[in-house]
């Protein structure tokens, strides 16, 4: 057996515990079992460390059940083990289809993990804003920013567990809201936004145009309140390091 075939047989053994693959690799299976145990334990531990609050919330047995399902359906592909948590939310949707709180809690933890190591950006210099032509201004947001609609109190569950408190019972929100995750300095943060503010941020991020944002808010709230609302949102995004770039300098 050449090296390529041996490595493919080894992959088969690790991912399926296929007895024929084991037999092709070694007469004594004890060593193969060590490697398979290492493989599975490593992936399960990775999921536990990526999703600590989900683990605490659903308990060890349920978490290990979901993690084992994930290991079975999604062999690791990336060179970094840190990427293995990607897609666990999709596994939870299959394993626990009627628990949107768990799906949203997983989204929060995965977003926090990826925001933590997202590309660095310099904070926006407020002095720069004095020269911006706001009719033409293009907005750029932090590369660490993740956004998702929220239907449950998953953010409250996460926050309680993060503070070392007892988690509340899972519940649906009275009205859908939005969650954002991003990094300020070295700290990844979670924040819940009311639906209108979430939609405004989504629009600004998708279209990148401050004028389009103003137009949308003026349509909704009228001229004075719409412009004031756009200004307040802009101040909030700048103050929280969500907005990292504004292009479109006024010509002298």
């Amino acid at each position: 057996m050449n090296l390529n075939k041996m490595q493919r047989a080894f992959r088969r053994w690790l991912t399926t515990a296929d007895a024929a693959a084991a037999h092709r690799l070694a007469e004594d299976p004890r060593g193969l079992h060590v490697y398979q145990n290492n493989y599975r334990v490593q992936l399960m531990n990775c999921l536990e460390s990526t999703y600590p609050h989900l683990h605490a919330f659903i308990g060890d047995a349920a978490f290990r059940y979901a993690a084992a399902a994930h290991v079975g359906r999604q062999p690791p592909r990336a060179w970094t083990l840190d990427a293995y948590g990607a897609g666990f939310e999709a596994t939870l949707r299959t394993v626990f289809p009627d628990n949107p709180d768990l799906h949203e809690l997983a989204w929060i933890e995965w977003s926090l993990a990826t925001a933590f190591v997202a590309r660095d950006t310099a904070p926006l210099d407020p002095a720069h804003l004095a020269h911006v032509d706001w009719d033409r201004a293009r907005l750029g947001f932090a590369p660490s920013l993740h956004m998702a609609r929220l239907t449950t109190n998953a953010a409250d569950i996460w926050s309680a567990l993060q503070d070392g408190a007892d988690a509340p019972e899972a519940a649906m929100l009275p009205a859908p809201a939005g969650a954002i995750v991003w990094r300020r300095g070295h700290v990844a943060r979670l924040r819940v936004l009311a639906a209108p503010d979430f939609e405004a941020l989504r629009l600004a991020r998708a279209e990148g145009s401050f004028a389009a944002l103003c137009a949308r808010l003026v349509d909704r709230h009228g001229a004075d309140d719409g412009v004031a609302s756009a200004g307040a949102l802009l101040a909030d995004w700048i103050g929280n390091d969500l907005l990292t770039r504004v292009s479109g300098i006024r010509q002298p």
Partner: protein, 278 residues
């Protein structure tokens, strides 16, 4: 393939940087001569990990130790991995860049474990071609570590130490000698660990790892969760006579004790070298 200068000799004593000790290394003057970090933990786009490794680098020489290069992959190296490693090397200017004589990946599957290679001519060709490419990419000679293994392959045509010697000769790479891995593999496969130490090209050894292990089902397991045991110290005493003073460190990956305990183990390693020098 480019011929690179041999990695420098650095006769110092160090520790692996682990999360539990970040504050010690960033806020106090830890009495070590170098620090080894797991490369992949810092091969990220941004955020705190890069800031930490830069700040540690301001205080200590840093060795980059990888676990995911997969130098034994039959289908070559991953370009995205090499690009990220190259960027980290440029950012850190490390003392050494090392990885393991093992494989982790085939095709799009990455096991995230250090899997064993058959010691054959074909595997030697694959490993040497991959080392040439890796060294060309990072612009320097690398070190490769002997792994712990739990499996041998029928059809092997040479011993592990013969494989290591020919690998160094063909690629100009150096060796990271993990004494615990020698102990574990010798026990698991029934070879003489002193024959291993006498068989490797000692002049290529630039770094030594000292660690502990656990007992599994008839096999020793390389868990790195114990103090260095007496049997490993005995092998280290022999290794020192062969390799001379080279960068030596305690490698602890699980059940991380207070830093003072690891420094006490490192002091023991220093004493072995003082005894040898006397």
């Amino acid at each position: 393939m480019t011929a690179f200068a041999s990695p420098p000799v650095f006769a110092g004593y160090g520790l692996g940087l682990r999360r539990e000790h970040y504050r010690d290394f960033l806020e106090t003057r830890v009495p070590v001569d170098f620090v080894e970090v797991i490369s992949e933990n810092f091969m990220v786009a941004g955020g705190q990990p890069l800031d930490i490794v830069r700040r540690v680098r301001e205080r200590h020489p840093v060795a980059l130790h990888g676990v995911s290069m997969s130098i034994g992959s039959a289908d070559g190296l991953r370009r995205d991995y090499i690009v990220r490693l190259k960027a980290l090397v440029a950012a850190v200017d490390p003392l050494y860049v090392s990885d393991h004589l093992s494989w982790s990946r085939i095709g799009r599957f990455n096991s995230h474990d250090l899997l064993p290679l058959p010691y054959t001519e074909e595997a030697l060709d694959v490993v040497c071609a991959n080392i040439d490419r890796a060294q060309d990419a990072v612009g320097r000679a690398m070190l490769f570590e002997n792994p712990s293994s739990y499996l041998t392959f029928a059809g092997a045509s040479m011993t592990e130490w013969e494989f290591l010697a020919r690998m160094c000769e063909r690629t100009g790479c150096g060796l990271l000698l993990d004494v615990n891995n020698v102990f574990v593999s010798a026990a698991n496969h029934g070879f003489d660990p002193f024959a291993f130490l006498d068989g490797i090209p000692a002049q290529h050894v630039r770094q030594i790892h000292l660690a502990g292990h656990s007992e599994g089902d008839g096999l020793l397991i390389d868990t790195h969760d114990q103090p260095v045991p007496d049997g490993v110290w005995a092998l280290y005493a022999h290794a020192v006579t062969r390799c001379g003073p080279v960068a030596t460190m305690i490698e602890r990956d699980a059940d991380i004790p207070p830093l003072s305990e690891l420094l006490a183990e490192l002091a023991l390693a220093r004493r072995f070298n003082l005894r040898e020098a006397a």
